[in-house]
Symmetry: D2
Subunit: 322 residues, 4 copies
């Protein structure tokens, strides 16, 4: 059976490795190359399969129909161009082409698949969303579209991520003995680099002067994001979760849960799992949305593959564990 | 040197054990008894010292000048009465005598020491605060007293606690394999049993129709609470942290930090460590307070001992690791 | 496509749950029932599929071609009989039918698949091996068969297991706060209940008065077993690993590694991964074998499914992640 | 009250930081300087006290009566010389002056305090033992001295250490996401750099051609070492633990336990905790010793301070948590 050759640039980071593993198990794709400059020549094992890294400049870009770029922010745009010049289509996991990231605003559609699906098939470049924006925007989109959010109200997001969200870099603050038994906020003061991406898309989805106040935290777990989102609303229905069930009806990768989701519900799965609860004991009507994803799956490699499946006309679910 | 005899009822739970350990190392106190009904007759070792549990009904209550009651909520009030009837003074770690907990409203002062210090010395019973309320109320008290909080605004609290906060009970959901690599919200919908305690004290401290919206989470760590608190304000100063520095000037157990605190800053210490940051990128002026405590120390046993030191006329810091 | 109906008795424990998850994803099997007496009526979710537990006595045993019994040791034999009486064949995950376990010695072949494969196809009952014996016996079998072990020498095994090895039981010593940041030996003194199983099979495989000295430890991880085995030998070859490579040539679920394996090499995979190293700096020639498995996969549910595949004439690898 | 000034060279590593913390709380010592070349000028907080790092070359060596050198192996000898030349006495935490480490064999006594106590008081340099040797040598010394070990027999040691044992270095293999939920052996093949130290001291203590076969493992915990030691013996008494109780009678930092110790028994304490058990079900009489220490306390900083207390004529227990 013919398999479609795809390549991964930046394959030694956590998202890149996850992507290589997914491709190795994908029924219709095969890995044409995997680049990692510092580890060039080294082998990386994924279960019973294996890949040998090449330097990015030695990667046979033209051999791939799709190139995934999982390079650091800022370093990606150039390689997206290189891949495009060989005719490959690109799914870019960096922030370089995402909304709200300034000069790189392009025609690349934003690959938040469930909300932007119709723009993907014909794209040359897909800007794969950030992990936090995926968890948060899919959670609040129905509210924004339906116009329930109190105009001018701040959407409050307290989120926590496993350490793979910080990437595979040998930083002393990410050593086991520094992270275990700890929990800390970072980018405190609404300064996280994902904020502009979320603000831009919130506006596009119908936000009415709704700012996002976002405080991320570092969890002593390897993978997973849990976002706790409180939204002041001017209206809602008796069972507000029906809005989400209706909005995401039939979506294979979105689960509306009766109970608040936890990381273990989503880890190693390409899903967003959500719960919606009305706040008791407050005068201002408020909804509390808990949203959980695996930052490396739906938050990175899984969603990238979901977008690649669409680009290639394959089943959107091909090769993706639900 | 004469040491003051004190007793602990409910000494096999996490707070009770911590308390026994603190008493064993305290320069002026000695442990008269430690009760644990199910473990009666068993020995419990704390470093190089040891205690043998007795049943509560066999505890020589009259031998203690102070009795600490670390019993389950609801079960404490009766034993507080028993201890009082022997003439002992009581520091009660349960919620039975705390503000907002309905029928048990009494004359017992609320032992949030730094805010209520002057009421403690003459008390017969001190209602030791809950762990979450300690972290949160000490964080927002300066704001409330100073009148900075926007009238009618909701104070949003997303907090996370280590598993000892759930007590030493053999619940399957607290097994290692269920908690490790997970993170979950609980009491979602503003339904936590500590809420009433926080609402009542918030009002007392000067809240102007300010509701608290509180979402706690369970962390895969043994101990520590981190609360991320966002407060819409109608005014503040250029460096808002000066308000806290001023308010808590000279307090040995409150630290105002330049950087957001993390659990490892406070674990095994009887302190609250706080940071205050202005939110960028939002129209509504908002302060973000990060508050960290050790739930078993400042959140339970440490604060109980701090209150006992006051009751006994000892240095408030005696036997407490800062 | 017709799928073969299979049932699981004792489906709420860790091994039972793992088995239900594997069956749900198996291309040729379907779950006829899953029993869990205490959770009867409750639903259990495995990714995107779900099962509703029934009481064992309500399980439609006759609807299943294979019944897996994942019941506590001692409680299994009766239900194996019940299942057999309806004509189902049984893979028993308890120790009730294993070698060395006294009165229950039967004709049930021992399902250490790679060593006993020819005895499985015609069996009515397969005694699925224990998790530690799987890791250890597959590691030392080539040595025993080849006659390399020093006669009379003790085979020293220090092994460590994740907490799911202790089962899903609400024991206080298995709470997160008791296990995290800890490491402890148990059954110290060569008293572990798996010892007889290992001694019996060691003898059968060619041991010459070779006792096993086995010290297990509890790891603060959820799953995985690592066994460090030192074997005094009277002979070996220049590259001793060739013996294992030869002995297990073509085995899909046994990996002979150049570097010592670690848990992350095997977790969620149905493999044993082994390394063999000659000890330097000792006078007595000694081999050090490191053996790693996932206790819930190759150590329980995965191997059980491997045996069921053989019983049903399916590919041995069907539905098993390598 | 006059306090003795002491200095720490290499104060940013885990052992160095632990030492600074101990000194800060020591009743008779004060910190004259703490060096850390890369962090020069940075402050490091230990609870409520703080230190500012200087470069080693800027450290006022002559201001200290004792200098602790917690520098990397190989880099220490030079600085020990520098410190000596100012008249300071030195406790060296590196391996540079330890037995078995070749050319640096000197007159520095080996600071395994309980066994070598009489050699410490007059020393200029004390070679502080490695963490593994401390746990293992104190465990087997009574056996060796008493002549119980089978002549020529191999002493088998399987030990596991928390990640601080690998030092505070930003190695990718020590990142949280690489260590959590994992367990791995290292230096497999009896090649660990601590082996020579253990072999040399074993011989000195009375070993009769007894080799040590040592396999260390990396635990997903921050601190603590547990060593599982099996020793073939030619004789022992009915209750073999009496040998240890007798040998270590009155030692404040050695505990002989009835139950096998675990890491939580010793973490943050300057003790070795041991159990001794006869192996059942083996023909060769064998004792199993489980030995637990905190690698940063009795295994490094605590023992260094214990030796410094002796050098200074202070109580050996001063400033050390038992």
């Amino acid at each position: 059976m013919h398999k479609v050759p795809v390549g991964v640039l930046g394959a030694s980071g956590y998202a890149g490795r996850e992507l290589c593993g997914l491709i190795a198990r994908h029924p219709k794709l095969e890995l044409a190359f995997a680049s990692a400059n510092e580890q060039r020549g080294q082998r990386y094992r994924m279960g019973s399969s294996e890949v040998t890294y090449v330097a990015a400049e030695d990667a046979p870009l033209s051999s791939a129909e799709i190139v995934f770029t999982a390079l650091p922010h800022g370093a990606s745009a150039k390689w997206v161009g290189n891949a495009r010049s060989t005719g490959a289509r690109v799914v870019d996991l960096s922030s370089d082409f995402r909304p709200g990231v300034g000069e790189s605003a392009t025609n690349a559609p934003y690959g938040l698949t469930e909300l932007m699906r119709e723009k993907i098939p014909g794209a040359d470049i897909v800007a794969n969303p950030g992990c936090y924006p995926t968890a948060i925007l899919l959670a609040i989109a129905p509210l924004l579209k339906e116009g329930w959010v109190m105009p001018g109200a701040t959407i409050n997001v307290s989120a926590a991520s496993g350490v793979t969200g910080a990437g595979y870099s040998a930083r002393p603050d990410l050593l086991f003995a520094e992270v275990a038994e700890d929990f800390r906020a970072y980018a405190v003061g609404n300064e996280h680099r994902h904020l502009a991406e979320m603000q831009a898309v919130t506006k596009e989805l119908g936000g009415r002067n709704n700012d996002i106040l976002f405080t991320p935290h570092l969890l002593p777990v390897s993978r997973g994001i849990l976002a706790t989102i409180t939204v002041p609303v001017e209206q809602h229905t008796e069972d507000p979760s029906l809005l989400w069930r209706d909005c995401y009806n039939g979506e294979p990768f979105i689960e509306i849960a009766d109970q608040p989701p936890s990381l273990r519900d989503v880890v190693r799965r390409n899903v967003v799992r959500l719960s919606v609860t009305k706040a008791a004991n407050v005068r201002q009507p408020t909804l509390i949305i808990i949203s959980a994803i695996d930052n490396l799956m739906k938050g990175a490699a899984g969603q990238a593959l979901q977008n690649a499946n669409i680009l290639l006309g394959l089943s959107e679910q091909a090769g993706l564990p639900a």
